[in-house]
Amino acid sequence: MPNYQARVLVNLRPSVLDPAGEAARSAANRLGVTGITKLRIGKSVELQIEAADEIEARQRLELLSDRLLANPVIEDWTLELEPCSSTS
């Protein structure tokens, strides 16, 4: 069965305050890195999945992202998916 490599990026929705991001942005200023006008912290989840084809893999990962990896009340997610040759 084909194996797919995926990455799900989870971010707080734009309307939700990200205090950790704000704290990091303020630290950037203290480091002397100026000009950072926005800093939002999210999560990156790397997965490999076996599925009959890419459509099935995508459907299963969309369900996973929507129901477990992200909470749609406060978070948005995006899915990146590509075939992978090895299972390592």
Binding site: L68, N71, V73
Partner: protein, 217 residues
Amino acid sequence: MSIGIIVFPGSNCDRDLKWAIEGCLGLPTKFLWHETRDLSGLDAIVLPGGFSYGDYLRCGAIARFAPVLESVLEFVKRGGRVLGICNGFQVLTELGLLPGALTRNKDLHFICEPTSLKVTSSKSIWFESYQKHKIITLPIAHGEGRFQCDEDTLKYLQDEELIALRYAKNPNGSIDNIAGITSADGNVLGLMPHPERACDPLLGGEDGRFILQALLG
């Protein structure tokens, strides 16, 4: 008559609840391991505070898939009373029994202190004996208690009088000062403050007793 206290891996207020409900109120309790599905003989269920499953991914995100909660969903449908405290509140929102979500405190601090709260709805069984706008004091102890929801949900909560408790002085940035909400049917209550830590005058107050007493009506 007995009250079930769910124990997730990482719960840490389960024993406090047993002490408060049995020792202070004289009501019987039973611990429910998260893998059980058997709620027979129980009249109410409490989800305790703590860090279920280490709060991995998000607070309550993994606990929500615990087998015991499938039975809790059925229990709620039949009108059973369910109380979620702190992490228990977070689990109830992840489970969809209550709307909204709890996010990182505005100032990033873990806040552990007594807090003044306003009872802003006496519509539900939990606060029907309270006068509206009564001020009570309960301790809070959380790093992620900032209630968030979209504008439509907020309006729904306001219009239906489902916001049971509001902070008198907002400690965490919660939208509309929300500290606790009930379900539309009123049998589910989720709140960030800890009523089980306010059941004995020696520990600084007894305002939590009435909330726990409401478990058995």
